[in-house]
Amino acid sequence: MKPRHKRFVFIGLGLLVLGVATVLVLNAFQSNLVFFFTPTQVASGEVPQGKSFRIGGMVEDGSLVRENDGLTVRFYVTDTAKSVPVTYKGILPDLFKEGKGAVAQGQLGADGTFIASEVLAKHDENYMPPEAAEALAKAKASGAQQSKSLVVPGSKKESL
């Protein structure tokens, strides 16, 4: 093989690897991207059926109920305009509390209950998950309901 031909083979192989990588990436993106929705969007039916997505907002005060098995919990996630019922079976994160921000990932059940497979809470006292903060900020901005004294820390860096 002449050096020129050899170079073509190398470039061809490089492109092949690149192509395979692209196919893998696109394929994986197609099936594994998880979109985020606010409770208002869930209530207005903008969410995909039978597909996993995330919702975020505040855990409504006084809404946390634990079932008899000690593991299944029910609570409402709200953006102050609308709220969505959520059920979750498993151990909640340490920082999950009523009146604090949380993000849940899962699917919407037939009865409109969000069946969470994973619940994420903020990492420390002053920090709100950006998704949760944004849900609250959006609801506030749309003026659906004037919240009383809602502080949304962390939302100012959303634009970064």
């Binding site: 050096p3 050899k6 083979v9 190398f10 192989l13 490089g14 690897v17 690149l18 395979v20 990588a21 893998l24 990436v25 394929n27 994986a28 993106f29 099936s31 594994n32 991207l33 998880v34 979109f35 985020f36 995330r54 634990r66 098995d69 000690g70 593991l71 079976k89 498993g90 151990i91 909640l92 340490d94 920082l95 990492h123 420390d124 006292e125 998950p129 950006p130 998704e131 944004e134 962390g154 100012k156 860096k157 959303e158 634009s159 970064l160």
Partner: protein, 663 residues
């Protein structure tokens, strides 16, 4: 007073950095040896100044000086001394000081081990490092000063995030930063070579040990971070493909590619342009990692900073460093030349494949990490890219790379004979295939992934044995021991590092294949069985720690009626930040970990409890440590020790002849 001394030392260090980053580089360009001679004392001076600043901050923490804002924000009078000192890098400002300090440590090391370098080369290297350190010092002094005063002083501090109050967290950041910043040396070598326009095998020989040492630190740092997540977060996971983890993993992938590409440049004079690009890439990704982690764009425990000014500064700095070095690369790289030619099936060809796959894998991780941030920044909606994406892209790209890893070291340079290779490797392949297919049946469950993982791991080990055997027949020495000793350390280093990968793969495969997990509600005296082990819950007691109170559970674990161990997981409450923390209890073992963490208290002393049985999980971190050990062995090779003790640059004739260029 002491904090002001620290602040002043930083300002002086900045002045020194400005001098170090300009005069020696200019001196090298015009051939003025007086200007070039500034580099070494300037680098050492900068090291001592930043050391003073670092010491001052440490003193402020030790003395609980809550009139310093940073100290008040990250420590507390009840926090034990070792965690107060670790709190130096517990948040944004201090971790930048640590970054800069480590950069000056590397600079100091370069001044010590560069006697054999030509003056122009050394002054350019130190100059480039001076420029990088100038950027960081400027950043600290303008927008993130760790010595900022809080007036009036706080009565007590806000305490360190309880998640970070852990021995693993004390060592993880310095290790990781030693790795990140260590790539700055390889980067400075590459930029210096571009500036000088001469890039030969000697250049690769000089930068190889530096890159390998940085890579070792990074490997250990990542492993410790992963281990910390495993036992501290209480979910039993060891890698989450979290953006912060990816931020440290991308430089590792680029650095691994760089190590292999440097080997080709060193031995054969090939891959020159590519090696330089990888050096720039590895350091740029380290900077990107720092930016991602420290700027607050990520939802994570690491994202302390919420000040947009800081994000902007890092972004601009990043653009200048990456853009500048790539522009220089585009301008100067064509002069460097491509290096020797080689056949498809050859050591060079194998290493090229390794590089392409590693860089493709790095690219897929980069895409998955940055894509959500881009969408968010452009206001196109919020998405998250989770572990399934990374698993389904990363594994198919790495599997062929690992397979080639077995063949590569046995292939001749320049041109190898494929049928001959197949003959030498056939029994290794047979043994691996048979073992990989039968072993899962013996263990009770067969899945394709299980077999694939085992095949790759056993393949690496068996091919290493074949390689070592062939090597032993070629070296001189009396008896087996003599011949083993005659094998160069760099070869041992490669074997050990590759076997570390095998150990790592076994760990991952076994954990993924055989782990069992269950979330259960347990009353006092109740038992639960998982993976053959029976856990009996004996209730909780209240205990008081130095700066927390906790409920401590007692679990008796037994196997076949015999008691294995007693585990004491805790649920801690840190009153200063009013934060709850799960402290998992783990019984580690060579073949399995038992893991218990407390969920929430339920009525009548019952708790929700998370139980895990994780076979071979410790092999994951063990594998990483073995990889790093391999790196250490490679660096201790005789040829580096010789070249360090010699004064003038040495280019062996074999590499000189290999420096022919192809048009």
């Amino acid at each position: 007073m002491i904090p002001e001394i620290g602040h002043f030392a930083l300002i002086l260090a900045l002045c020194v950095a400005v001098v170090q980053g300009s005069l020696p580089i200019y001196g090298a360009a015009v051939g003025n040896s007086a200007l070039m001679a500034i580099a070494r004392p300037a680098a050492r001076g900068q090291f001592f100044l930043v050391l003073v600043a670092f010491g001052c901050l440490g003193y402020a923490f030790a003395e609980k000086d809550f009139s310093v804002l940073y100290v008040a924000a990250t420590s507390n009078s009840q926090l034990p001394l070792h965690y107060r000192l670790a709190a130096i890098w517990g948040a944004h400002e201090g971790s930048l000081l640590l970054w800069t300090f480590i950069l000056t440590v590397w600079m100091f090391a370069v001044t010590l081990f560069s006697a054999h370098l030509p003056d122009t080369m050394r002054s350019r290297i130190l100059g480039v490092m001076g420029l990088v350190s100038m950027g960081f010092l400027l950043f600290m002094l303008t927008v993130s000063n760790p010595f900022e005063r809080l007036i009036p002083a706080a009565l007590d501090g806000r305490d360190l995030n309880p998640l970070l109050q852990d021995p693993g967290m004390v060592i993880h950041p310095p290790m990781l930063y030693m790795g990140y910043v260590g790539f700055s040396v390889a980067f400075a070598f590459a930029i210096a070579a571009l500036l000088g326009g001469n890039l030969d095998a000697a250049w690769a020989r000089w930068s190889r040990p530096w890159t390998t040492v940085a890579w070792c630190f990074l490997t250990v740092g990542i492993a410790m971070g992963s281990g910390w997540a495993y036992y501290e977060l209480g979910w039993g996971g060891w890698w989450f493909w979290d953006p912060v983890e990816n931020a440290s993993f991308m430089p590792w992938l680029a650095g691994t590619a760089l190590i292999h590409s440097l080997a080709v440049t060193d031995k054969r004079g090939g891959f020159k342009v590519w090696t330089v690009l990888l050096a720039i890439m590895a350091f740029s990704l380290s900077l990107l990692g720092t930016f991602l982690v420290r700027s607050g764009v990520l939802t994570s425990v690491h994202a302390f900073a919420t000040d947009p000014k800081r994000g902007l500064f890092i972004l601009v700095f990043l653009a200048v460093v990456i853009g500048g070095s790539l522009a220089l690369y585009a301008w100067r790289a064509p002069r460097v030349g491509l290096g020797g030619s080689f056949a498809m099936v050859s050591r060079e060809g194998m290493l090229l494949a390794n590089n392409v796959l590693l860089v493709a894998a790095m690219g897929s991780v980069l895409l998955g990490t940055l894509y959500p941030l881009f969408l968010d920044a452009l206001d196109l909606g919020k998405i998250s890219v989770g572990p399934p994406y990374f698993d389904s892209v990363f594994a198919p790209l790495m599997a062929p790379a690992v397979f080639l890893m077995g063949i590569g070291p046995l292939t001749q340079w320049k041109k190898a004979n494929l049928p001959d290779l197949a003959k030498r490797l056939r029994w290794a392949f047979g043994v691996s295939l048979v073992t990989a297919l039968t072993l899962p049946f013996v263990m009770g469950e067969w899945t394709p992934l299980l077999s694939l993982g085992l095949l790759l791991a056993i393949w690496i080990v068996t091919t290493s044995v074949v390689g070592l055997r062939e090597r032993l027949t070629h070296v001189d020495g009396h008896g087996l021991a003599g011949r083993l000793a005659a094998v160069p350390r760099s070869y041992w280093g490669m074997l050990v590092a590759h076997c570390g990968i095998a150990v790592f793969i076994v760990g991952v495969t076994m954990v993924k294949g055989f782990e069992t997990e269950s979330d259960v509600r347990m009353n006092v005296g109740e038992t639960a069985t998982i993976g053959g082990y029976t856990f009996r819950f004996d209730g909780t007691q209240d205990v008081v720690g130095p700066n927390y109170t906790a409920a401590r559970g007692t679990f008796h674990v037994s196997w076949d009626g015999r008691e294995t161990t007693i585990l004491y997981p805790e649920k801690r409450r840190y009153p200063v930040q009013n934060q709850i923390m799960t402290e998992a209890a783990i019984d580690p073992g060579l073949l399995r970990d038992l893991y218990v963490s407390l969920g929430e208290p339920l009525e009548d002393g019952a708790w929700s409890v998370r139980l895990y049985h994780k076979p071979f999980v410790d092999w994951i971190w063990g594998g990483c440590l073995i990889m790093a050990l391999g790196g250490v062995l490679a660096v201790s090779d005789r040829r580096y020790r010789l070249s360090w003790s010699r004064q003038e640059p040495v280019v062996p004739p074999s590499t000189r002849t290999a420096r022919r260029k192809v048009a």
